[in-house]
Amino acid sequence: MTNASPAPTPPVTPPPVVSVRDLRITFPTLEGPLTAVDGLSFELSPGGALGIVGESGSGKSAASLALMGLHRATNATVTGDITVAGVDVSRADDATVRAMRGNDIAMVFQDPMSALHPQYTIGNQIVEAYRTHRRSASAAQARQRAIDVLDRVGIPHPATRINAYPHEFSGGMKQRVLIAMGLVCEPKVLLADEPTTALDVTVQAQILDLLEDLRTDTGMALILVSHDLGVVAGSTEDIIVMREGCEVESGDVRQVLKSPEHPYTRDLLDAVPRLDLSRQERLARLRTERSRARESGTGSAHVTPAPHPSPRGPVDAEPLVRVENLRRRFRVRGGLFGRASHFYAVDGVSLQVHRGESLGIVGESGSGKSTLSRMITRLLPPTDGRIIFDGHDITHSSERALRPLRRDMQIIFQNPYSSLNPRRTVGDIVGAGLRVQGNRDSRAVKRQVKELLERVGLEPDHYDRFPHAFSGGQRQRIAIARALILNPKLVICDEPVSALDVSTQEQVLRLLAELQDDLDLTLIFVAHDLAVVRQVSDRVVVMRQGRVVESGDGDAVYDTPEHPYTRQLLAAVPVLDPEEAHERRVERQRLREAVGDEGVAS
């Protein structure tokens, strides 16, 4: 796949800047050696852009670490040939590889929150990278160079911000700092491993735009590793799809996305949440698939009652949740004797959720959407306003008064790795709700839990296992079962899929849609990704800085967004068509100027 792009190639093909042949990486485990990468080969020409796509565990990160020679001195076994900018990474001595790292190939990591050292200023960390490879540079020169690259990646006031510590930056800004650190020695290749996975959709778009810009400006090559085809589609020329350590498909990105040959690639493509699919279409599609599955006697549809017809019941009935002018103030510590200032995380939000409906709440981090959902369940007391749940005013109810209502409101949290107690079995976790509510018949509890486990796509005999035995998607299924065991009237999903791979995300969303269909659940679905929200929401509320900027019927918000901020959010959703991705990039540029600086400075 050296020069698969249809662009006219120069008469003399330049030698590839990265070449990998028959790469194999194994890790010793208790159950014997585990092959993370199995016979991967590719080449990248100077200035090219290659995407590596696969789910977690596909070996894509192990492969990128190998390019940097970062498996050295670990217990991983790496075989095959890796050449980066003329350095034979597999055989060169440590000093040569060190001289290559950061200088010929620089790496940007997934989680900008933890990839910077918290105790040094960003300037210190960038200057350090520069002076490691430019021994003759003076401290002043290195500092100037650091200011230049910070400026280049869009850090405002770089000359003063260079003295700031990582915690003084937002996630998106930290990722820019890391990119600046990568750029400082003008590497020939920038290797970005899931650079946007920890970030909001809008910030993701900004970072991807920045990477694209840098590549065109500096002529460096880019390797973009991601689980999300949508991320890779708009920013690369060639693509490799990996699964379980092997390449399943590769080639020109347009070609692969338009006519994928391997079924796995098709699955990945289907999993990318699509903005252009309305909720009704999606529901219809889901129902057809399920009835087809039922007829053929396969699939997970064995407990299903006949799907009742949409549209849902009349909306004039008393809503299940009514929130009026809700506000929540937080204190920001100020001077010596508490000259504290206040800010409103949620600032006057009113909304209603009707029975059987699902409401999507969308916004970036800091928009107040999580604070809002915590107040609705009274996990957080509101400062002002009213919350009426199922006819009860719970705004100031005591914890004791709330207890009987608690079983009717359940939450599914964002991170299934930390929201399940690792020392309790799945049965304990899921059954706890029943037991807390006073069900003493342990056999009945067990039976009920097992039924529910099956309903959410797990096995009944997972009952006695511990959470660590499950993947992220399975854990989120456990969390869903835990929330549903008490037949709650309201389920709040707080970013339930943002910690998951795109393909797993799709399965969990599908499960939620099925469950809602079957059990007539009322859902509040909180997320930063508009495309994800569209798949599960009848109505959508867009939040920004504690206020609702737009709300309405799902389709209307998506098809005719009124607020420029909504449009900005929409434009940030990655798309699969490279041509369209380019158009959207231009559109984003325009919107960013329209909405003002806050959007960019996030």
Binding site: M68, L70, R98, A99, M100, R101, G102, N103, A106, M107, F109, D111, S114, A115, L116, H117, P118, Q119, Y120, T121, E128, A129, T132, H133, Y165, H167, L178, M181, V332, R333, G334, G335, L336
Partner: protein, 338 residues
């Protein structure tokens, strides 16, 4: 940042006040609550087998018949500006800072504390240098060579160090190194630093090593655990990906972060030790604060015990304060946003 420092200072003063209340309560309020009357209480401040007259005089001098609040006010006043112990017939003056007056041997406590402090401080400082140096370097080495023979040997030694009490290691080393082989001087040999620095170090080397062995063992285990955590952090991978030499990665990036919690504990340990390394001082017969306290307890000289307790508390609070201030420099994240 200035806000942060001022806040810490204010908190430190407040904490001192609370500590003085607690110490005072332990000595004067708790016995009352437990049923002791003014006379029994006074008897405890006179030493062993007191005469009734002496008890009555002490009761009068300490105002033990006054309400507890008045007594506390006197106590604090003594700390700050000195006090007079008036028995009705004669007056004993105790100048500020008055940490009490020993009616046993008719001496103010404070000057005695000050006399003994250099011994304890010498012991603590020397041992601290050794245990910090040895503990941290062994811990780092262990973490980097995790699972190797070096790591295991170090950790087994550390386990021994943590579990063997000082009066065991101290006595064994005294018996072998100073009495049997006569490499080091016998216990009780202390020369002030300013008189002869070499003699000072030579006399203290065995207590230093004994004390440092215990603490080095704990610090080695803490450093090892901290380094293992830190070296798995993403920012260490970032540092390697920059092409930094491994030495820089370990020291600048790894150790800096791993040492942060150790500094906290170090400050507290040092503060606590300045109040008297009781076991070490007793084992090696060093005339420091710890031995002073032990001797006072034996002689039932409660004012001295009270004085040493306050003094120790003072050191812990001050050490705590210093650690907090040091933290500003060590960890930028504590600098409160203004």
């Amino acid at each position: 940042m200035i806000t942060y420092i001022l806040r810490r200072l204010v908190a430190g003063v407040g904490l001192l006040l609370v500590v003085s209340m607690v110490v005072f309560a332990i000595f004067f309020l708790v016995p009352r609550v437990a049923g002791a009357d003014a006379d029994t209480l006074a008897a405890r401040y006179v030493g062993k087998s007191p005469s009734p007259e002496a008890v009555a005089a002490v009761k009068e001098r300490l105002n033990l018949d006054d309400p507890i609040a008045v007594q506390y006010a006197e106590f604090v006043k003594g700390l700050v500006m000195g006090t007079d112990y008036d028995s009705g017939t004669d007056v004993i003056h105790c100048s500020a800072p008055c940490f009490g007056y020993s009616f046993n041997n008719n001496l103010e406590v404070w000057p005695q504390l000050v006399d003994r402090l250099p011994v304890t401080a010498s012991l603590a400082a020397g041992a601290a240098v050794i245990w910090l140096g040895a503990g941290v370097s062994i811990g780092v080495l262990s973490a980097l060579r995790r699972g190797t023979l070096i790591d295991r040997a170090a950790m087994v030694t550390a386990l021994a160090g943590v579990s063997l009490p000082i009066f065991f290691t101290g006595l064994v080393s005294l018996a072998l190194l100073s009495y049997q082989w006569q490499i080091f001087p016998p216990g009780g040999s202390y020369t002030p630093l300013l008189d002869n620095p070499l003699e000072w170090a030579y006399g203290l080397i065995l207590p230093w090593l004994t004390l440092a062995f215990l603490y080095a063992a704990m610090y080695a285990r803490m450093t090892r655990a901290g380094m293992l955590d830190t070296m798995g952090e993403d920012y260490i991978r970032t540092a390697r990906a920059k092409g930094l030499p491994e030495r820089t990665v370990v020291t600048k990036h790894g150790l800096r972060a791993a040492l942060t919690p150790i500094i906290t504990i170090f400050g507290l340990d040092l503060g606590l030790m300045l109040g008297g390394a009781v076991l070490t001082e007793s084992t090696f017969s060093l005339p420091g604060l710890g031995k002073f306290a032990v001797d006072a307890i034996r002689a039932n000289d409660l004012p001295v015990v009270l004085g040493v307790t306050m003094f120790t508390a003072l050191f812990v609070v001050v050490a705590n304060l210093l650690v907090d201030l040091l933290y500003v420099w060590v960890d930028p994240r504590v600098r409160a946003p203004s």
